[in-house]
Amino acid sequence: MIVSDKSRPVRSYSLSADVVRYSLVILAALAVIFPLYFTVITSVKTDENYSRDKIGFPTEIHLENFNTALRGGRFFLWFKNSVILASGAVVISTIVSALAAFAFARMDFKIRNPLLSAVTALMIIPPVVMLVPLFVLLTNLGLTSTYWGAILVYGGMVTPFSVYLLTNFFKTIPFEIVESALLDGATSFDILWRIILPLSAPAMITMIVVNLLWVWNDLLIALVLLPQDNLRPLMVGITVFGSRYNKDVPVTMAGMLMASLPMIVVYLFGQRYFIRGLVAGAIKG
């Protein structure tokens, strides 16, 4: 379903009901804003300014916390690692899921329904359950502490959701379109590649955004599979950074702000895909 964005005229309600309504929303908004406000103002304070006053605006704007953070943490390296992991996992998962979803949505075979149910069920299994055997397996294959090992694991972890989302979307594409291509002698792969995929852009974008977010935000798997400092993705990096600088709060906040910027930018531009994608698990996308 699509979240509609059209505004409608405000309906008339009693004044007291409106007071309650607005108070609730404003209270919630303040609860959301306060930690964000705190992070931003603290990131430009000196340590001395911070210990004197933690709530108010900074007496002067000090941007050197960002420099200190950049020198203390390898943000660019962590960022690069995260980009490699997330994009690698998304590419693998997208290819594998598109092929499988095409079979689930458009072909008849014996184990279709039980297999689709089993794949869907995997969405809910927490990664921590698989962690120990995955670590052992990757160690035996010599793939711990490599991008490849982690990319395969991440790609696998996000695949059940991708298959689920794409299968549902592929089913909504009218069969007449496919039929006319068949008459022209197209093979099944032509149909997927030339007809289904170009029509599936919205679903693909939604899936990619959700999967990027999943891999980008993971801490546990990276902590176990990529322990070396030079392979750390951003989330592991900032966790280590946060505990190393916990005495210097302004520098920590500067680091957290820099680490969040990419996702905030993506959110600002791709908001509807975020919302649609995250709701897709519950209400069909």
């Binding site: 509609s4 359950v129 519950a282």
Partner: protein, 291 residues
């Protein structure tokens, strides 16, 4: 349906099956195997259910389970907050789209960022206590993440802070697809706001509520590692240890993957059991949408 020969579908499925066997299939079989062995390093002798006996005797495991169960208190709290806010936004208050975007922001932020920021806010000398003191509420200025009695609840509050946005967006999306004539009719019949909520809106949301509750229960039992790790590392002492951290510690600190696998197996079975209502719900909505 496309007419294909018998093997074509399986060719399309093969890469997915391989990848899922690697990331899910093998590990799920392996934890059953590992959990019945005393493993040092790569492998070890079969010891039956000894690992399970060990963990059920372990006081720390009991605490971990208890803490996960305490975190379940967050589920009804998140449910109530997100339904109320979704309904208020649904009633098209001025700027509802802005508020929807704003209230969803925490869910977009990475958990480690949220964890690190809140662990600074909640310090004994942190900003939260400065505010409380300046309001004359000195006695409420507690050691939020240093006092073993309350740290788990502080973590719970942070989880609620970040996760409520998902519930709001979920319920709002569902509300926007229900038939508003029902609500208008109830209004014409003189139902007040509370009655409309209880008798009209909530029944309409029933299946999404069920989904949200199950997902949230699973989150509280098995997806809170990043919060715990970045806010309290399970401490002070074992005051915030949870099953995931217990698995992590046993596998990668204490080098006892057998014990860790036994806990993972238990967690897996719990998730499986919780999955049943979800599947019933999924097939129901599938039916509704077909019909």
């Amino acid at each position: 349906m496309l007419r294909t020969n018998r093997i074509t579908p399986y060719l399309y499925l093969a890469p997915m099956v391989l990848l899922l066997v690697f990331t899910f299939g093998y590990p799920l079989v392996a934890i059953a195997n590992f959990s019945t062995r005393r493993i040092r390093g790569i492998s070890g002798p079969f010891i039956g259910l000894e690992n399970y006996r060990q963990i059920f005797k372990d006081e720390v495991f009991r605490q971990a389970v208890e803490h996960n169960l305490i975190l379940l208190i967050a589920v009804p709290i998140m449910l109530i907050i997100s339904i109320i806010l979704a309904v208020v936004l649904f009633e098209r208050i001025r700027g509802w789209q802005f508020f929807r975007s704003l209230l969803f922001v925490p869910y977009v932020l990475a958990i480690p960022v949220v964890g690190v920021v809140f662990s600074n806010i909640l310090q004994l000398n942190g900003v939260q206590n400065q505010i409380l003191r300046s309001l004359g509420l000195e006695r409420f200025a507690l050691d939020w993440i240093g006092n073993p009695q309350i740290t788990l609840y502080s973590v719970m509050a942070v989880i609620i802070w970040r996760e409520v946005g998902f519930g709001i967006v979920l319920f709002l999306a569902r509300l926007q697809s229900i038939n508003e004539e029902l609500i208008d009719a109830a209004k014409v019949d003189g139902a007040d706001w509370g009655q409309r909520l209880w008798f009209v809106i909530i029944p309409q949301l029933r299946s999404v509520i069920e989904f949200y509750v199950v997902i949230s229960i699973i989150t509280m039992l098995a997806w809170v590692f990043s919060y715990i790790y970045t806010i309290s590392r399970g401490g002070p002492g074992n005051a915030t240890i949870v099953m995931e951290l217990y698995i992590y510690n046993f596998a990668f600190r204490n080098q006892l993957p057998g014990i860790a696998s036994a806990v993972a197996a238990i967690l897996f079975v719990v998730t499986l059991i919780l999955m049943f209502p979800l599947f019933r719900f999924r097939s129901e909505t599938a039916m509704e949408e077909m019909g």
